[in-house]
């Protein structure tokens, strides 16, 4: 194989055929149900025909239960007292709610999700944001931080002024505030940890590989911060001052590195109040035109750019091996990838598979396997 291009060839077929040995015969009888409330937390290996509690795979039309006591959630439908699956996926029983989560589907927004989205349209006092779901999400003008709160009073020349904040193509991270009747999301960026994204690069993985967690912004070794949107949209950037303070231990001490850019002491605000994490509170003072600037930090070095490229490649490798993406796994994959000094060699299929295997083996050995 030449160094310039790697070509995989197969003669006499339109695509790789499904390996017959993997298909097991299916029983059509009622599946044993246990009431242990096991929720599915993340996708691991696909094709697992495990019929143990909590991870049964069903196909559309398959009978899930005939017990009428269950509340029927997404992915199911019922006739008489029988509940059938309407998608191909795993059965999930949480408390009294029975649903089938499809193995592959578009991202479905839930309230509280931290997502990364791209502005698709500028409309009447709102923006339409592409979040990779079945519909665009809506970001209302009143749900964003506006410097000085000017636009909320005016209504003329709305469209032009709105574009000076967020225009078509802009990337931002936001939180799902609520859902409309039709399932589409309403977003807000009313916190300094949300807003326009800059100083980095975008990449995308299937949304099912991102696990819902308490925190979605992680600082990674090499001065890089990653924002793992639940919708599978990911932003890698150079770690900013705010990212450092966010991870700094709370407690109002004079701990190093937590001064804000305005040079104020982290413990005293202008009103004299003692605050623990000033970068996230006091929105009105902190909001300036800077938050909607399109300009990147001019001091992004070549090393940081290479590190960002390396992280992007290992995240794509994890996605190629269909491994759930978490902060620990990204760091583990990054360390494994350092065996390949040339970042560009990480795009080969064999290298991606090898990295994925190493990450999983590392977990098994450390006893962290989930």
């Amino acid at each position: 194989m030449s160094e310039v291009i790697s070509v995989v060839k197969r003669q006499g077929g339109f695509q790789y055929s499904v390996d017959e040995s993997n298909i097991q015969s299916d029983d059509d009888e009622d599946i044993y149900m246990s009431d242990d409330g096991n929720a599915r937390t993340g996708k691991m290996d696909t094709g697992n025909n495990d019929t143990e509690s909590g991870s049964q795979i069903v196909t559309p039309g398959e009978l899930v239960t005939d017990d009428p006591i269950w509340m029927r959630g997404h992915g199911t439908y019922f006739l008489d007292n029988m509940t059938y699956s309407s998608v191909a996926g795993t059965v999930s029983r949480v408390n009294r709610l029975l649903s089938v989560i499809p193995l592959k589907s578009r991202y479905s927004p839930e309230t509280g999700d931290h997502i990364v989205g791209r502005i698709a349209e500028v409309g009447n006092k709102r923006w339409r944001v592409d979040i990779g779901g079945k519909q665009h999400a809506v970001l209302m003008l009143g749900s964003v931080n506006l410097p000085g709160g000017i636009l909320r009073r005016k209504s003329e020349s709305d469209e032009l002024q709105m574009r000076s904040f967020l225009k078509e193509g802009d990337l931002l991270n936001a939180e799902v505030q609520s859902l409309f009747q039709d399932g589409s999301a309403s977003l807000h960026t009313r916190s300094l940890k949300y807003g326009k994204l800059r100083n980095g690069m975008f990449c995308q993985v299937p949304s099912s590989l991102i696990v819902r967690a308490k925190n979605h912004t992680h600082n990674l070794p090499g001065n890089i911060t990653v924002v793992l949107g639940v919708n599978g949209y990911i932003w890698l950037r150079k770690t900013s001052q705010m990212d450092i303070t966010r991870d700094a231990p709370p407690g109002g001490s004079t701990g190093g590195g937590s001064s804000t850019s305005s040079g104020q002491n982290s413990t005293n605000g202008p009103t004299g109040a003692v605050s623990l994490n000033p970068s996230i509170t006091r929105l009105e003072e902190e909001s300036s035109w800077q938050i909607y600037s399109d300009e990147n930090d001019p001091s992004i070095t070549a090393n940081i750019r290479k590190t960002i490229s390396r992280y992007a490649n290992v995240i794509k490798a994890l996605a190629y091996c269909e491994i759930g993406i978490t902060q620990e796994r990204i760091i583990s994959a990054y360390e494994v990838s350092m065996a390949y000094p040339n970042v560009g060699s990480l795009i080969d299929r064999e290298t991606m598979e090898s990295i994925g295997n190493d990450v999983l083996n590392g977990e098994k050995m450390r006893g962290n396997a989930m």
Binding site: M1, V4, G12, N199, M201, K306, G344, L346, I347
Partner: protein, 267 residues
Amino acid sequence: MVLSVAEKSYLYDSLASQPLIRPDGRLHTQFRPIEIFTDFLPSSNGSSRIIASDGSECIVSIKSKVVDHTVETDLLQVDINIAGERDDSMIVETLTSLLHKVLTSEDGIDVKKLQLTKKYSFKIFVDVLIISTYSYPASLISMGIYCALNSTWLPKIISAFDDLEVAELPTFHDYDLVKLDVKSPLIFVLAIVGDNIFLDPASNESEVANNGLIITWSPQGGKVISPVKTIALNDTFIKGFNPILLKKGIKLVEENASSVAQALETL
């Protein structure tokens, strides 16, 4: 591909820096991996399906017909179809015209290899279907055509070569086939960002390129052939470039094209 101003600015700065830093860390001569399937269309003499790592996919079919070459001058016909585009759209017509020039170029496809008798030759119909594409597809199409022609089998002729006197059509063997021995030229797309020039631009790299080059290479002659032209890969960053980069681009292709052709050969 839609990108934000900040993203484009980051990408541009990375690609214009010395030495250049590509978003996926590739070298400036490195291609992304591709997957090729050949020989799967039963009603065509040759076929290929090429899948790029960004999801771009293209199917090429080769069919043949016996024609009187004293009457029919054009022995190669290319037809391009892009899923979702009209047949008279700019991109489809431009690619059809470009591919036609590439295949019929001097040192392109050797039409003497298509000759059957003194009067008759095979006419080759190349049909390209682009199922999806995320960057300029010329390079992908040319690799698809290369592999399809490389796995094309034509009927074996059993009648005499000299048929000027005889008024009969050529006759063929019932089941034996002969492998077609022609090599299609390869098209290389290069992107220019600042003072840097590199091969196989991805869609995000194309979005911020200052200009682009299409350079054709003949495996037969082992050299760059026409058509060679500039191409605008986007309409926001496009501007003029230093003539030295034209020389550099041609040199890049001359140095790396044969490795690409070799990789496409090995089965």
